[in-house]
Amino acid sequence: MKPSTVKIKKMPSRFKHQVPKYKITRSSDCINCGTCAKTCPYGVHERPEGHNRVNPPIDYKCIGFDCESKEFCCLAQCPRKALSLSLNPMYEALGDPRWTADMITGTWIMAETGYPPERTDLDYNVGNSGGGFDKLRFKFPANPPKVDKSEISTAIELNRRNDGRAPVVISTPVYGGGMSFGSVSLSTMVSKAHNAAIWNTFTCTGEGGFPDILKPYDDHVITQVATGLFGVREETIQRVKIIEFKYAQGAKPGLGGHLLGEKNTEGVAKMREAVKGTSLFSPFPFHSVYSIEDHKKHIDWIKQMNPIALVSVKVSTPNDVDMVAVGSYYAGAHIIHIDGGYGGTGAAPDIAKKNIAMPIEYAIVKVHNFLKAEGARDAVTLIASGGIRTAHDLAKAICLGADGAVIGTAEMVSLECVRCGNCESGRGCARGIASTDSELADLFTEEWATQRLTNMYNAWNYQLVEILQKFGMKSVKELVGRTDLLEHIDYSK
């Protein structure tokens, strides 16, 4: 059930053109008769009033080979057979095996319209990585119990400890990942928080401090305590409902962060309570935590400072992630947030992103089972992140044993990130999402970005509800740990 604050409104791309999947080629046989412009309902062909010639085809509007079965298809209608359709080589330059061009295009459509694409030619639910989520499929029953969509709840509780602290409930089992002040533009940061408020869920500050501009959204902000302790003050701890200890990040597990001196501008330094222009290190690990007992001490401090807030512990996925999770539970954490090795980042060594720690798919199963065996599963909330790209990934992660997920890249793609990976180099993000460059950071408004995020969250929620309906379930909580509802395309033969 979506909160009443959610209003879906079409929010088109900032750019004139989209990246086209198809290419329409017009040969010299064309006599500029204009038939194509009349027949194509998608606006691929145009012949402006009073012009003799037809404009070059607008490729991105073409729906591709599916159109060939339609009567109005330009290929068939052209009297000279001067038009041909092929895959556009441009599309190969977009995306990669994990985030395919179809997935990026699909997410863009969701952010624009608020719903999954109507086009049937986009394989936007699964990637092409050849493993993990991309090998899992749902096993929908033939005759599920009839459930009306309005009866289905996607809400989950984040406090399952029954310890008298705030009973925090989020309306959709997803929240936004930590992106620090300075690593993304201010409009990006604020729109993430604004959307979290609209969707009654959360966003996270990352480790760069908690800017005052987020004050209106305090109830939907998780503030992070990371190893550098930048910007952590009693006041910021007391402002929020959830505080997150960040031990590690999936994209660079076991490595510290390093903010270059030149990026440590006046604003950043103030927020981080550091000296402007100096290089800032976030060490690894917490230099005051070498055991679960030390870890508990930290959690106790936070709990003392804020008597109602929940504590989340974010860890990456080493071999012993299950033991770390159980340890965190005993130390008093409400949320165990595991961040898989293929997770996103604003900057990380390529060698770490590819090679260190295990993908999230394995870690969810490991941690879920270990917590169950320990009898602790029902008392903690297990949140997965690091490679949750689509609503289907989210539902699969829940089937594997998570309660919900944190997403980062999908939010960025909603704001028209193309995953070019240049977030940190030079002036930063060329598309204005992850840049503080005065010119680039002004490429979109907070209003545009908030609506795009709200739309994307809606499309995900819509798909999740659809999945639950196909299983005949009334709550997303029924889906947790239901690996029997999944099959693996290699093993389940």
């Binding site: 004139k16 053109h17 989209q18 607008i58 490729d59 080589p89 190969e92 330059a93 994990r98 990585s129 050849g130 493993g131 991309d134 031990y247 590690a248 994209a251 076991g254 510290g256 390093h258 060490p283 935590v289 070498y290 870890h295 860890v315 990456s316 071999n319 012993d320 992630v321 340890g327 090795g341 293929y342 997770g343 980042t345 900057a347 990380a348 060594p349 060698i351 770490a352 992103k353 590819k354 260190i356 720690a357 993908p359 798919e361 199963v365 890249t409 990130c417 193309v418 995953r419 240049n422 940190e424 030079g426 002036r427 060329a430 690996t483 999944l486 099959e487 093993y491 389940s492 033969k493």
Partner: protein, 466 residues
């Protein structure tokens, strides 16, 4: 604490076109409005030098794939595709992206850092089917990356005693063997192609600069290389020991080509070498089927260091040209040899070098986790200079034209940069694992996560039909 090991990179660009990933073309319907020059922050689009009314051809070399010009061109006149060169150069092992990253590392000597998550396939062949572990909360400190604590990447080459022996009075009888220490678990292998004199000298100087060694055919070792004797490993056949006595005299290590007859004569050969110098002997064995037995016999015959050489893609060599030969991958060859020696309780006595197909920094610690002591590399050092390698229709390694005109210093620095970047990346992985001694990586499969194992344990258990 040992002295800190540093490799000193220096930005060293080469004035040369290399591989580009993308190609942008400007269509005829461009109206020269100049919008693309405004939106591209990498300056791929500029107006023509002579005629400012027209746009110049896009400079693809600087394109970072942000798509802004494509999306913002009012006429949709710009098109982009993967560069044909980029598509063509990719092989089954040597992927196009490897060339680009090695080239970049040779230029700046830095750890490649990018934004956004990993973009490749979930798993792959060989070393791509394993991940390395990391330490979360409850392990010793791992803060070596930023230099506050020392991570030692040094390894020793030579034979070790299985146990110590004492006489009746408790006095130590065992004499320690000679070993050679190098500060990085990488040596340079025999160059895969004939080199110009300047490249050859640079290769030697680079080895010297980073305190490692290079294996060179003894016939190629010129008198003027004498200054670098400590960093050159002459490669000879057993019959050539006396012929090259002059060179061997100054060597710390010598490499001998393996023949089946060698095992029985090993003691005598070592004796002959010892008469000339104190050099430690490396025996170079091709990685053919049954290699485990060969290695085991060599260890039992007193070998000091064995180099197991796979082909340039890290595949087992098809010695008998068998039809339907299914070569094993380097990862599996290493694990199998290592395990056999462990079972025979002789693994600790020998140093094992594995080479062939080592293309990326990540391969080094992974090779060690599988059971190697160190590696020898060749092709990446030449990719640093702009070499291209094609796998199909057959192996073709092309060095760029004009290399003979480059100064020795520039070539040396490119190789040093590459190794500097590799060293830093090895530190990253060791730091994450919480391992402070490279020697401790050897065979530490507990700190590795193997795809076959974890996938079977997780998804196999859940989804395989009983």
């Amino acid at each position: 604490m040992p002295k800190k090991y540093h490799i000193h990179p220096k930005v060293t660009p080469l004035e040369m076109e290399y591989l580009y990933k993308f190609k942008i073309t400007r269509g005829e319907n461009c109206i020269n409005c100049g919008r693309c020059t405004k939106v591209c922050i990498y300056e791929a689009h500029k107006r023509r030098k002579g005629d400012r009314r027209k746009m110049a051809d896009p400079n693809t070399a600087v394109c970072r794939n942000c798509f802004r010009c494509i999306q913002e061109c009012p006429r949709g006149a710009l098109e982009k595709s993967l560069h044909q060169d980029y598509v063509n150069i990719s092989g089954s092992h040597w992927k196009a992206d490897m060339f680009l990253t090695l080239w970049k590392q040779a230029e700046d000597g830095k750890v490649p850092v990018t934004g956004a998550g990993y973009r490749g396939p979930f798993t792959g062949a060989g070393f791509d089917s394993m991940w390395t572990d990391m330490s979360e909360i409850v392990r010793p400190t791992r803060d070596g990356i930023h230099g506050r604590e020392y991570i030692n990447t040094g390894v020793e080459l030579g034979r070790k005693h299985n146990h110590l022996a004492f006489d009746a009075e408790g006095r130590l009888l065992t004499q320690p063997h000679t070993t050679v220490d190098i500060p990085i678990p990488v040596i340079f292998d025999i160059p895969p192609v004939q080199l110009n004199p300047n490249v050859m000298l640079a290769l030697i100087k680079a080895a010297s600069e980073i305190s490692t060694c290079v294996i060179l055919p003894a016939a190629d070792i010129k008198p003027e290389f004498k200054t670098y004797s400590a960093n050159i490993i002459p490669f000879i056949t057993e019959g050539e020991i006396d012929k090259y006595a002059d060179i061997l005299k100054d060597s710390r290590l010598v490499a001998i080509d393996y023949t089946d007859a060698l095992t029985d004569k090993l003691a005598a050969i070592k004796e002959r070498i010892k008469n000339i110098s104190n050099a430690v002997t490396i025996i170079r064995v091709p990685a053919i089927s049954g290699i485990e037995g060969t290695v085991s016999k060599l260890v039992n015959s007193g070998a000091e260091v064995i180099q197991i050489v796979a082909d340039y893609r890290g595949l087992e060599i098809n010695k008998d040209k068998e039809a339907n030969f299914k070569p094993r991958l380097m990862k599996d060859i290493i694990r199998s040899i290592h395990l056999k020696l462990v079972e025979e309780r002789i693994r600790d006595e020998i140093t094992l070098i594995f080479s062939g197909g080592i293309a990326m920094a990540e391969h080094v610690p992974k090779l060690m986790l599988c059971g190697g002591d160190l590696t020898a590399i060749d092709i990446p050092l030449f990719i640093a200079l702009g070499a291209r390698l094609y796998e199909e229709p057959e192996k073709l390694l092309l060095l760029p034209d004009g290399l003979e005109k480059l100064s020795v210093d520039i070539i040396t620095q490119r190789m040093v940069n590459l190794m500097g970047a590799w060293h830093s990346q090895i530190l990253e992985m060791m730091g994450a694992m919480g391992i402070r001694e490279a020697r401790r990586l050897r065979g530490e499969t507990g700190r590795a996560i193997f795809f076959e194992e974890i996938d079977e344990e997780t998804f196999g258990k859940l989804f395989k039909q009983q």
